[in-house]
């Protein structure tokens, strides 16, 4: 049974006004447990709108959402229990920090779950550890932290709820390469350690190529592709046509191919690239 399933999901912004626009349209999708799904698509393609349906923040105009087989808009379903199960980290989550200390802020989610004190502090320490927030920082005010630390503290606030599905909307936006990689590494670790399902919305093809097991491509309110990373990046040309980028290394191999070297153009990580070049030099056959 897929952990997330949607059936003909549709959402319309500003319904009934002259500015009416379908943000997502007829989305039918199955996401299996334990996947690391990269969600890509041009700005305004409906990625953020789609992920906000998974924890019941947005109510679909039509269609259904099932989490763990449960229709979240069915009768007697507590939306909050869905939100504890499906942790959603918004874009620029550092702007939601509000408590006196980082500890209290991370504890906000678990406290809302009604857990007892020991359980809460255990989870806070665990979550802080996952995102690399040291113990000394926990007693500071969140407003004293640096940008990257704030971001990580905010992510910890969601991780502390131990969601079985973790959704992150552009978690690395606006960070420098090191901060970027550090956050993604922590998410990767979390995914492996907790075996949870992770959805990563990102504009960076490199980030998705390096981390995801599956890729979901959205374009103008619809899903245009959903498949394994290999399958998706093998269709680089259509991705580029949609106004999306492909990993730089894929571009290099597409260029090599164009200039007559018979290498595989669907390479999407540097490691694969290295292997592919070695294979080619040793006189491998055309793929």
């Amino acid at each position: 049974m897929p952990i997330i399933r949607t059936e003909h999901l549709k959402y319309v912004y500003s319904e009934g006004s002259p500015f009416e626009k379908a943000a997502i349209d007829d989305i039918t999708l199955d996401i299996e447990e334990g996947e690391f799904v990269g969600v890509i698509g041009p700005t305004g393609s409906g990625k953020s709108t789609l992920v906000q349906h998974f924890n019941g923040l947005l109510k679909p105009a039509a269609g259904k959402v099932f989490i763990d087989g449960q229709d979240i808009w069915g009768k007697k379903v507590d939306k909050r229990s869905i939100r504890f199960k499906v942790g959603l980290v918004f874009q620029y989550p550092e702007y939601q920090l509000f408590e006196e200390t980082v500890f209290k802020d991370i504890a906000f989610g678990p406290t809302n779950m009604g857990l007892n004190k020991d359980e809460i502090s255990e989870r806070v320490y665990e979550a802080a550890d996952f995102v690399g927030i040291s113990k000394e920082l926990l007693s500071k005010s969140p407003f004293e932290l640096s940008g990257g630390q704030k971001r990580r503290a905010a992510i910890a606030g969601v991780i502390a709820m131990r969601p079985s599905i973790l959704i992150l909307d552009e978690p690395a936006a606006g960070l420098d390469p090191r901060g970027r990689e550090s956050i993604l590494a922590h998410i990767r670790e979390y995914h492996i350690a907790r075996k949870s399902t992770v959805l990563l919305v990102s504009h960076s093809m490199e980030d998705i190529a390096r981390n995801a097991t599956k890729v979901l491509v959205m374009s103008s309110a619809k899903i245009v592709m959903y498949g394994s990373v290999n399958d998706i990046f093998a269709q680089s040309t259509s991705l580029i046509k949609m106004g999306l980028d492909v990993p730089q290394v894929t571009r290099v191999f597409m260029g090599l191919r164009k200039s007559g070297y018979k290498v595989d153009p669907s390479v999407y990580t540097v490691e694969q690239g290295k292997a592919e070049i070695i294979r080619y030099i040793r006189g491998g056959q055309d793929r």
Binding site: S14, R80, G87, F90, P93, Q96, F98, F143, V158
Partner: protein, 279 residues
């Protein structure tokens, strides 16, 4: 969603009304209010009503939107009508015995109630016509110019209008921000709906604190950006779009003057309708 709230209510268009100089439009709106309250009998009030319908037609604002503005003040209209109907003494329209009290609804009371509700309704329609057809920015521009004589008495007119412009500009931004913060806290299981008043007030803190922080951050950034572009207040400042009265402005002012004069004339020459026998 809060995002759907229409604030400022500007309805873009290119009608004659839209193109009028905002300064002139403010003056005309005030004149219209004067007209509404100087209309003392049914005919003159009807003239004022028809005038507003014509303006609405010219502006091409959908009637539905114009009427929507009245909805929130409907309770006020009903309340004032009731008070007027019951408390204005005069010839009894009908009497009612409630316990030992004698409730009398007078003809004059009903007349006044009708007049007052029509006036309030058209007061709202008239002013919303101004905000529907004028973008907030040009509205404050117009206001600034209208108030500029007050600079002589050291009123910081430019600064006030700049503050208003900035406030108007940031209302949608802050609404969007609030929406986002609410969603983010909801995603962490925040509960805004249950509990007593104190609990609910406390539940607002996770929204208010980030909102204030971000408002201050934005203010600081904006101030810096203005500084970088050497903003130093209104002294010697010129405008990209010079507001200048055109023929249509004079024309509409003339029309308004004639209608107002007509209303006053009707008041003088047909004085008996009000206060006697409307029904």
């Amino acid at each position: 969603m809060i995002k759907d709230i229409t604030l400022g209510q500007y309805f873009p268009g290119s009608s004659l009304i839209h193109k009028l100089d905002p300064c002139m439009k403010i003056i005309l709106s005030i004149t219209y209010m004067v007209m509404l309250f100087s209309a003392f009998n049914a005919i003159s009030l009807a003239v004022a009503i028809v005038f507003m319908f014509v303006v609405t037609l010219i502006s091409r604002i959908p009637l539905k939107m114009v009427l929507r503005g009245i909805k929130p003040i409907l309770p006020i209209i009903i309340l004032t009508s009731l008070i007027n109907a019951f408390y204005v003494p005069g010839d009894a329209l009908f009497k009612l015995h409630v316990f030992s009290f004698l409730v009398v609804i007078s003809v004059q009371g009903v007349e006044l109630a009708v007049f007052m509700s029509v006036r309030i309704m058209f007061l709202i329609i008239g002013t919303s016509m101004l905000t529907y057809t004028t973008s907030p920015i040009s509205l404050t521009d117009g206001l600034e110019r209208l108030l500029s004589p007050l600079k002589k008495v050291k009123l910081p007119v430019h600064e006030l209008s700049m503050m208003m412009t900035i406030a108007l500009r940031f209302i949608p931004t802050l609404i969007e921000e609030t929406d986002k913060i609410i969603s983010a806290q909801k995603a962490r299981g925040a509960d805004f709906e249950s509990g007593n008043i104190i609990r609910r007030m406390k539940a607002l803190l996770p929204i208010l604190i980030p909102l204030f922080v971000s408002a201050f951050r934005r203010a600081e950034e904006l101030a810096l950006a203005m500084d970088c572009r050497c903003y130093k207040g209104g002294e010697g400042r010129t405008r990209m779009k010079q507001l200048q009265l055109a023929r249509r402005d004079y024309l509409s002012a003339t029309v308004m003057a004639f209608v107002l004069a007509g209303v006053i004339c009707i008041n003088i020459f047909v004085p008996k309708l009000y206060g006697s026998s409307l029904f």
